[in-house]
């Protein structure tokens, strides 16, 4: 049998990323906060939501913005998870000790998957 090449490397890395995303989905599902949860949390809105619109939704939910991100639809706030979801957030997650951009993007995919599969 011959030795593999660049396609093999690409396939291997793609496979690893795919498995990683699947595992991340499972773990992120467990990071979803129940509606009654309060305190510091990461909240994600529909991708493409304007920062002003997300800010308005956060304030309508009575939450206090702590920090925004380069992506205006991912915020770290101090508030109540249920109220934020009622105001249009896709989900509220425990604040992760990594860049909210990375965790927020995974959270968006998680929220979409949960919605699609009724999780």
């Amino acid at each position: 049998m011959g030795y593999p090449g660049h396609r093999f490397a690409l396939g291997l890395f793609a496979g690893v990323i795919f498995v990683w995303l699947a595992v991340m989905m499972v773990v992120m599902r467990h990071s979803v906060l129940p509606p009654e949860a309060t305190g510091t949390m990461m909240v994600v809105f529909e991708p493409g939501t304007a920062p002003d619109a997300a800010f308005a939704a956060i304030t309508r939910a009575g939450a206090k913005p702590i920090r925004d991100t380069s992506f205006g639809f991912i915020w770290v706030v101090d508030g109540e998870a249920g109220k934020l979801v009622k105001e249009g957030a896709l989900g509220a997650y425990r604040d992760l000790p990594i860049s909210p951009i990375v965790s927020g993007c995974v959270a968006v995919v998680d929220a979409k998957a949960a919605d699609a599969f009724g999780l």
Binding site: L12, V27, Y93, L96
Partner: protein, 411 residues
């Protein structure tokens, strides 16, 4: 009458593709788990009401032990085969991580997170994997395989940090550490296909030296090219460790947001995968010393440009992407040079000593970065030291003679 029996085909788990996948998975787990420890600094320190120093000292011990144990791990791999060493390392690694999760005594924590994890990392590291791959794959594919294994390690760093962060968030720090310990045990499974490369009780293969291990080490250090390579790799450790630890506070001082700094550090990991892989390809196509020399020169140029220009989010991202591309790209070329000069028989041992120099450089990069900052109130002098060392490394790689050392030629 004689009957000829056709050679039995190798089982699927010993096929080259399986062995390569397994080796890469070992590298991903080994590098990945190690890269997550920084995330536990705050939760563990707060849980035990320890000063940060307790955790920091454990990680410092871990890095030192990792460096010291690597040549020893290499000797074991060259003597008993990589698979056995990787499996032993995985068990020690996992025990160390469990001790980190369960100990409430600083001394025990240092034993677990410092000594045991350090030994575990060394024994299950990608250099041990590369030694196995170096013996399994044909010479023309060797550099590519080294690049692939290094890129896998880089990918591990990139994917394990968010994974551990999510674990921390979902299950708490103790359970997160248990999951990471279980992940390191996965190395045992992935090491199994590497049993195909078993050097236990082996004799010198055709074209390889029949020197004893002691003689090989002694004669390698008598080779000027090996000493130059080892001194060059010291610089790699110095530069990378300094940037890893001190770039985030440097960026903060220059008004770069914490979030942007996190993104910038993430870019290093991402570009590192591409750089390591490409470096393996380049190493397989011709000389290794010139690309190595250029990598060190390019690092120095990137640092000069970065610190001379105004620090903005754009220059920060360009700098970290560039450094990421050059990050571990030195590894496949350095490992490749060790193999060219000394063959595959003692490659894990001889690379281990080169790596020890890297770790000494890492220690000094981190320590001097902090020490000189405290003395002068800025990082300027250490940045310029890194630039000068980069130029030094670029120069010392040029006289390396890229051929089998006379004392290691087959007898």
């Amino acid at each position: 009458m004689t009957t000829e029996t056709a050679p039995r085909p190798a089982p699927w788990y010993f096929l080259p593709m399986t062995v390569l996948v397994a080796g890469c998975m070992v590298a991903i787990i080994n590098f990945g788990v190690r890269s997550t420890f920084g995330l536990f600094t705050v939760p563990i320190s707060e849980a035990h009401q320890w000063p940060r120093e307790v955790f920091s000292l454990a990680v410092a011990i871990q890095n030192l032990v990792w460096g010291i144990a690597t040549p020893l791990a290499g000797m074991m791999a060259d003597r008993f085969g990589s698979a056995r060493v990787l499996m032993t390392g995985a068990v020690i690694y996992a025990i160390g991580v469990v001790v980190m999760a369960t100990s409430s005594n600083p001394l025990v924590f240092h034993l677990g997170g410092g000594i045991l994890v350090g030994i575990g990392i060394a024994l299950s590291s990608f250099s041990i994997v590369m030694a196995a791959l170096g013996r399994i794959v044909p010479p023309e594919k060797r550099s590519w395989a080294f690049g692939l294994a290094t890129a896998s390690g880089s990918l591990g760093q990139f994917i394990f940090a968010p994974f551990a962060a999510a674990l921390l968030s979902a299950y708490g720090w103790q359970n997160a550490l248990y999951v990471l310990a279980a992940s390191s045990l996965g190395i045992i499974l992935f090491a199994l296909p590497l049993m195909v490369q078993n050097t236990s009780r082996s004799t010198a293969v055709a074209g390889e030296t029949d020197l004893s291990m002691g003689q090989a080490i002694s004669k390698a250090f008598g080779e000027r090219s090996y000493v130059l390579l080892t001194s060059g790799f010291f610089v790699c450790g110095f530069q990378l460790a300094f940037i890893t630890v001190h770039l985030p506070p440097y960026l903060a001082e220059h008004g770069i947001s914490k979030e942007m700094a996190g993104l910038a550090m993430g870019l290093i990991g991402l570009f590192n995968v591409a750089g390591s892989y490409l470096s393996g390809i380049i190493g397989g196509r011709g000389e290794k010393r010139m690309p190595l020399s250029l990598i060190y020169l390019a690092r120095s140029a990137a640092v000069v440009a970065f610190i001379m220009l105004p620090i903005t989010p754009v220059t920060t991202l360009i700098f970290t992407a560039t450094m990421g591309f050059l990050w571990l790209s030195t590894v496949p070329l350095t490992m490749g040079l060790v193999t060219v000069m000394f063959g595959t028989r003692y490659m894990a041992t001889l690379y281990g000593f080169v790596f020890l120099s890297h770790q000494v450089g890492s220690f000094l990069g981190v320590w001097l970065g902090g020490r000189l900052y405290d003395m002068y109130g800025n990082y300027d002098i250490v940045w310029w030291m890194g630039v000068a060392l980069g130029v030094f490394a670029a120069i010392v790689h040029l006289p390396i003679i890229e051929k089998r050392a006379a004392t290691f030629a087959a007898t």
